[in-house]
């Protein structure tokens, strides 16, 4: 059987899409679905049918469009006219969009007829030139909100699987790693380890069988980047895994995804099925010697399983407890075979880097942090949602321009990044650029992409106890510094919260933090004190206030 003709699929799909004079894009990711976007899709379909416009209009369910707080989001694109984005589209409004916007717009088939929307429609539009969109740079999320994630043809029409074709037919594994090296891509799962280095280690490990693992366990409790990527563009992640496999010499891929993400799992399963059907997975892919297969494994609600050695234990069907490294997974991973393990977002970057070259990717960013980063911007900001920004943009621009500033009457106090392993960056430091090293110098970390904006009402002692409570709950209990130290630390914080603390307790806290950092076995215990240390460094006054006041605020 001849290999698939990617170019032909692309051209056919583009032609199919161009046959419609109007395409309606509806966000069908978890956030918007919970704001009833499926009901909006039903209403749109009905309206299109009743106006007899099925041959003119296509309704496209898509991944996340970013403004999650204002869903369901619907974007209308009439050929030759400016796209219009609507927010909070309920079924009734959806019907009006078809009858009062699209129908008249189509009727006037004059080319650049600028359709004037009636006020009741205009009032619910979101201008597409606002800072929220203008300041972003989409690489990983380039397809999010623009294609149907459940269609391999739609992905291919956007140059999907072009990178795979390019590397399989024209590039050696070394050349691939060279491009990744040039791009400066670092792991997006929190650690920031250079991807080219990891791939080189995995490549150099001699073994009959190797694995690639995609880490979709997304542990940060308040962030949903990886989920959104898996839901919006599963084929990009799959293509990234295929490229990693060819570069490292692996035969099998494993997607480890949280069971709490049913939609992401469903879409990944579908992507794998479609890729198999198109012979982009399986034996002799694209007619080459390269053969590769994939499976999905589900996480089961243990934060520690995001840690790579615990994740591997979990895949092997055991309790997810970490083990000391080395050996690193790239030497000894699943079933003791060399395993290249990367985060979802890391892998989703790979196809566009190979398509456009490492230099293209490195055009964004700072000396040590290249490319873009996806964040889940939440908390006390007006535009809370999913964003992707070029590295190096200042936090102030993120919070004030993209986020639109404080959503309350109160001033912003700090921004938390890195979730339970991270820290706070205070208001005075908001000019800090988004960069692995600069965040670390400021006592926080880039982390996986949680970014939580806090205002004057948010207590720093509370936020420290919140994160520590989470890590104590999630500690696997294997080593004493984390198991016992964490609990003692939490008790001290609670004592202070209740107004029963003393100055001496602060000293004990500092000692405990140091002990946990240096003596814990895995990253969970080593980084668990970070939120405490960081809030204590910048907001010690809040701790002291609690100590000095009998009643806690």
């Amino acid at each position: 059987m001849p290999p698939v003709n990617i170019e032909k699929i692309k051209n056919d799909e583009i032609k199919r899409q161009n046959d419609f004079c109007c395409r309606i894009f509806v966000c069908a990711s978890t956030g918007c679905i919970s704001s009833q976007s499926m009901e909006a899709i039903d209403a749109l379909e009905e309206a299109v049918k009743s106006h007899d416009l099925e041959n003119e209009i296509e309704i496209v369910p898509t991944g996340c469009m970013g403004l999650c707080a204002r869903g369901p989001l619907v974007r209308v694109e009439v050929a030759g006219q400016k796209p219009v984005l609507y927010e909070t589209v309920d079924p009734m409004f959806a019907r009006l969009v078809v009858s009062e916007h699209i129908r008249p717009a189509l009727a006037k088939s004059v080319k650049d007829y600028a359709f004037k929307l009636p006020d009741f429609l205009k009032n619910r539009t979101v201008p597409l030139d606002i800072d929220f969109f203008a300041q972003q740079q989409k690489v990983v999320l380039a397809n999010a909100g623009d294609i149907d994630p459940e269609s391999i043809e739609a992905y291919i029409a956007r140059d999907g699987y072009k990178a795979l074709e390019k590397i399989l037919l024209n590039m050696s594994p070394e050349q691939i790693i060279e491009q990744i090296e040039k791009s400066g891509l670092r792991g997006r799962g929190g650690g920031g380890f250079p991807v080219a280095k990891k791939w080189t280690f995995a490549r150099q490990s001699q073994a009959e069988y190797k694995y690639v693992i995609c880490n979709g366990d997304e542990g940060d409790p308040g962030a949903y980047m990886d989920r959104s990527i898996l839901e919006a563009d599963p084929h990009a992640v799959l293509e990234g895994v295929l490229i990693a496999a060819y570069a490292t010499g692996a035969q099998e891929g494993i997607f480890y995804i949280r069971a709490e993400y049913p939609l992401a799992i469903e879409r990944m399963k579908k992507a794998i099925r479609q890729a198999k059907r198109n012979k982009l997975l399986g034996k002799n892919i694209l007619g080459t010697e390269f053969s590769f297969d994939c499976q999905i494994r589900l996480g089961a609600g243990a934060f520690v399983c995001g840690e790579e050695t615990a994740l591997i234990a979990s895949i092997e069907g055991r309790r997810g407890t970490p083990r000391p490294r080395p050996p690193y997974p790239s030497v000894k991973g699943v079933w003791d075979m060399p395993t290249c393990l990367n985060n979802v977002e890391t892998l989703a970057n790979v196809p566009s880097i190979l398509r456009n070259g490492g230099d293209w990717f490195a055009q964004w960013g700072t000396g040590s942090s290249k490319g873009t980063k996806v964040f889940a911007l939440t908390g006390k900001v007006i535009n809370s949602g999913l964003i992707e920004i070029p590295m190096g943009l200042s936090l102030r621009e993120v919070v004030e321009k993209i986020g639109g500033g404080s959503s309350t009457a109160k001033e912003i106090k700090a921004v938390q990044t890195g979730g339970p392993s991270g820290g706070v960056i205070k208001r005075e430091d908001l000019d800090l650029p988004v960069c692995y090293d600069r965040f670390q110098q400021a006592g926080s970390i880039m982390g996986s992409g949680g970014m939580i904006v806090m205002d004057q009402d948010d207590s720093m002692v509370d936020i420290a106890s919140f994160y520590l409570g989470f890590t104590v709950d999630e500690s696997c209990g294997k080593c004493a510094p984390c198991r016992i130290g964490g609990k003692q630390l939490l008790d001290l914080l609670e004592k202070i919260s209740q107004g029963k603390g003393t100055k001496k307790d602060i000293e004990s806290i500092k000692l405990l933090c140091e002990a946990m950092r240096s003596a814990s076995l895995c990253g969970l215990g080593q980084t668990a004190p970070n939120p405490v240390v960081s809030t204590l460094t910048y907001f010690e006054n809040e701790y002291l206030e609690k100590i000095n006041s009998e009643v806690c605020k």
Partner: protein
């Protein structure tokens, strides 16, 4: 003679589905929990026999992972998101309100077997914080004052279902 598909137990079907996996235990447990809502004792016994793993290891795995449940969760599982975004917007007040209204602690099921209360971490709708998920339905920007109303809504649903079943 090999059993036909109808003769296979759900656990046998799950075991077959993941037969090519080197260690299918966790995936089989997922399958059981999805259909039954928890891992019943007899299911654990059957898995032990079918997959040839010691019962102790099965329970070691079930108890390690928060996702697996050993008891039936009741008809409606109320998951209050206590992720960071929801925490900052008062998730603890929602937990307290549900807890008081239903007279159960998080992790417990009401005596009539209707409601199970649990706190979960980020459900991925942080923009809508605070968020509560009940079975498949998501409630965004939920206020504690709306809690009694939400519970009543589900009770009513169950009553009509029983009435329908009876008639």
């Amino acid at each position: 003679m090999a059993k036909t598909k109808q003769q296979l137990s759900p656990i046998e079907i799950a075991a077959k589905k993941y037969a090519r996996y080197r260690d299918p235990l966790i995936m089989v447990l997922h399958e059981i929990q999805t259909t039954r809502g928890y891992i019943p004792r007899e299911a654990a016994f059957e898995i032990a026999k079918l997959l040839n793993v010691p019962l102790a290891r099965i329970y070691e795995v079930i108890t390690f992972y928060n996702y697996f449940r050993l008891k039936s969760p009741g008809k409606a599982v109320i998951s209050v998101c206590t992720g960071t975004a929801c925490h900052l917007k008062g998730a603890d007040k929602l937990v307290k309100e549900f807890s008081e209204e239903l007279d159960i602690e998080p992790g417990q099921t009401t005596d009539d077997g209707l409601f199970h209360l649990q706190s979960v971490r980020c459900v991925g709708c942080c923009g809508l914080a605070p968020v509560v998920v009940i079975n498949e339905k998501t409630y965004g920007k939920l206020q504690p004052s709306q809690v009694p109303h939400v519970i009543a809504e589900w009770k009513e649903k169950f009553e009509t279902e029983t009435a329908d079943a009876a008639s």
